[in-house]
Structure formats: structure tokens, C-alpha cells
């Protein structure tokens, strides 16, 4: 199942911590996964989070940020995601 607008949700949370870098990080993560933005499926989100974790800067609390992204996605799409 495609999830429409997921990028906006993730970028919104990321931007709170890393500002303009958020879009770059998402692009890099998708590139690493070899997945296009509109191809993102629910079952890929766990993998996306794992790749995203490696792309985040060390200056921030990455685990906390991933939890925030997961919570935002759950709220937005009523999803049940596995905890990282």
C-alpha cells in the first residue's frame, strides 16, 4: 500500500532538528534504498528508518528523533510500526 505524503511528515519532523538538511537526508536515504519517493510502501518504512538512522548527524539525539518520526507517521496514517 502506497503512503501518500509520507515525505512531508518525515521532513517536517526532521526539519525541527536539522533544518534544511532534512530534504538532503531523505534523498540520500531513498537513494541508498534504491527506492523512489512515490514507491514507498508501509512495509518499507522500518527499513527506511534504519537507513535514515545512519544518515542523521551525530550532534542530535537520533533515537529520540526516530521515535518522533515514527509517532508522527502513526498519528498521520494510523499505522502500527515496530519499535526500533
Amino acid at each position: 500500500m502506497d503512503i501518500i505524503g509520507w515525505r512531508g511528515v518525515v521532513a517536517g519532523v526532521l526539519a525541527e532538528r536539522v533544518g534544511i538538511l532534512s530534504e538532503v537526508i531523505i534523498d540520500e536515504t531513498l537513494e541508498e534504498m534504491s527506492v523512489a519517493e512515490d514507491e514507498m510502501q508501509i512495509h518499507m518504512l522500518g527499513s527506511f528508518m534504519k537507513h535514515l538512522y545512519t544518515k542523521l548527524p551525530n550532534d542530535i539525539d537520533r533515537r529520540k528523533l526516530l521515535h518522533e518520526i515514527r509517532d508522527s507517521l502513526m498519528t498521520e496514517y494510523h499505522l502500527l510500526l515496530a519499535r526500533n
Binding site: 525541527e16 536539522v18 533544518g19 534544511i20 538538511l21 538532503v24 548527524p57 550532534d59 542530535i60
Partner: protein, 289 residues
């Protein structure tokens, strides 16, 4: 932590409340004291008037005694009778003033003055009868004259005792009013000192904290921004302070992280580009045959 705006609002509110409390306190107690001072002056004036009346009353008694002492001496007798009538006239005028429509006297005072007037009339009537009797030779000698006026003299005691008591009352009233004014002034002084001390204490605390709360975080933030502008992007921007400054600090920290991430990616790209350039066949050194 409170914002700078909240701190300033609290500080100014405290000062306004303190100022208003001082104004209300001074206004209320000064008005009350002004009324009390007016009453004190009035009681003093009344006391003075009554004292003058009491003195005239005592003069009457003295002239009456002199009249009787010189009962056998027509010239001296006539002199003291004249003096008596003179004081009597003054007393009547004084009592009439007490009953004037727009006077400073209360209804109770006026009723007392009425009783004194009747007492004076009874005494004057008695004295005039004795005066006529002595002048016509019906009464001879001091003792006989003294005995004849006894009844009228007793009636005059109402005036003499009444005025003496009322003078005491008026003096006591004036003293009480003055004491209340003193008490009011003491209250004003006490509360003004307490309010001023509280305002000074709060002002002192705010004077120490507010400039520090504004200038401290701003100078910390300025240092961080200067560092970033010089390329030192490794140090996180952490500023403690009110929400205004911490909000700005968070934004600067976001910019720093983004800048650092972009710079890392740029160097990585550059490295990759260099690698690719180095690996292109045209750039490889040709093997010597």
C-alpha cells in the same frame, strides 16, 4: 524559566501595585486626618469659647461677692453692680452665639446652652432683686445679702458646673482627635516604609536578574554565532535563558547542524569526484612499452 517579557510584566506590575497601594493609603488616611484636624480645631474653638464663658461666670460670682462685701458702701456697691451687669451682658451675648443657626455647635451643645441660659437668667433675677433690696435698704449687711441670694446662686451652679464639665469634654475630644491624627500618620509612615522597603527589595532583585537574563544569553548566543561564522561549527549552541532567547538559540543550532551536514556531504562529494577523476583511463599514467 520565565520569559523576559513575563519578568518585565511582573516587575512593572509589582511597581504599579506598590504605587497604587501607596496612593490609596495616603489618600485614605490623609482625608481622614484632614477631617480629624478640622474636628480638633472645632473642639479647640468650642473649648476656648466655653472657657471665656466660664471666666465671665466666675467674674459674675466675684462681682457679686464684692457687691456684698461693700453692701454698706453705695459707691463701691454701684461700681460692682455695674461690673456685674457688664459681665452678664457678655455672657448673654456668648450664649446667644451658641444658639446661632449656622454655628459650630451641635444640637446637644445648644440644648446645654439653653439650660445654662435659664440658669443665668435665674441667677440674674435673684441678683437684681437683692440689688434692689440692698439699694432700697430692705436688706442690710453682707450676711443678709448673701443669704438672700443663696437660692439664685444655687441655680447658677448649673451654668458653672456645666461649662466646666463641657470644657473638659471639648479638651478631651480635641486630644482624642489629635491622637487619631497621630495614629493615622504613624500608620502612613509604617506602611509607606514597608511598601518602600518591599519595592526596593523587589526592584533590587529585578535589577540584578533582568539585565543578566537579557544580556547574558544574548552575549552567549552572539559568541556561538561568531564561532559558526568563522567556520567553527563543531560546538553545539546551548543557551540557557527565557523562551525568546532559547527559541533563537534552537534555530541557530538547527542552522549549525544543517551547515555541518552540508559541509560534510560537500567534502564527501568532492572526495568521490577526485576519486573518479583519478580512476578515469585518460588520467591514468600510460604504461611505458
Amino acid at each position: 524559566m520565565l520569559s523576559v517579557r513575563s519578568k518585565l510584566t511582573i516587575a512593572f506590575s509589582i511597581f504599579f501595585i506598590a504605587l497604587f497601594a501607596q496612593f490609596a493609603l495616603v489618600y485614605y488616611f490623609s482625608n481622614e486626618s484632614a477631617a480629624l484636624i478640622t474636628q480638633t480645631i472645632k473642639a479647640h474653638e468650642q473649648g476656648n469659647t466655653l472657657t471665656r464663658l466660664a471666666i465671665e461666670g466666675q467674674k459674675l460670682r466675684r462681682y457679686e461677692k464684692e457687691f456684698f462685701i461693700y453692701a454698706d458702701n453705695p459707691d463701691r456697691r454701684a461700681k460692682y453692680s455695674g461690673e456685674w451687669n457688664n459681665s452678664y451682658g457678655k455672657l448673654k451675648d456668648g450664649l446667644a452665639l451658641l444658639n446661632a443657626p449656622r454655628s459650630i455647635w451641635s444640637q446637644a451643645d445648644k440644648e446645654r446652652a439653653q439650660a445654662w441660659n435659664e440658669s443665668l437668667n435665674a441667677y440674674a433675677s435673684g441678683f437684681n432683686k437683692v440689688d434692689v433690696a440692698v439699694n432700697n435698704g430692705f436688706i442690710n449687711g453682707t450676711l443678709a445679702a448673701n443669704k438672700a441670694i443663696q437660692d439664685a446662686k444655687n441655680k447658677f451652679r448649673v451654668f458653672l458646673k456645666g461649662t466646666a464639665t463641657e470644657i473638659d469634654n471639648k479638651v478631651n475630644q480635641a486630644r482624642d482627635f489629635s491622637s487619631q491624627v497621630e495614629a493615622n500618620l504613624a500608620i502612613i509612615q509604617k506602611y509607606l516604609m514597608a511598601l518602600s522597603a518591599a519595592a526596593l527589595a523587589v526592584g533590587g532583585v529585578l535589577l540584578l536578574t533582568i539585565p543578566r537574563a537579557i544580556a547574558g544569553p544574548i552575549s552567549e548566543l552572539t559568541e556561538s554565532v561568531i564561532d559558526i561564522s568563522k567556520g567553527n561549527i563543531g560546538r553545539p549552541v546551548t543557551v540557557r535563558g527565557g523562551p525568546e532567547v532559547t527559541g533563537l538559540a534552537e534555530s541557530v543550532e538547527r542552522l549549525r547542524i544543517a551547515l555541518k551536514g552540508l559541509m560534510l556531504r560537500m567534502s564527501k562529494l568532492q572526495e568521490e569526484r577526485n576519486q573518479r577523476t583519478a580512476n578515469t583511463p585518460s588520467n591514468k599514467p600510460k604504461e611505458v612499452a
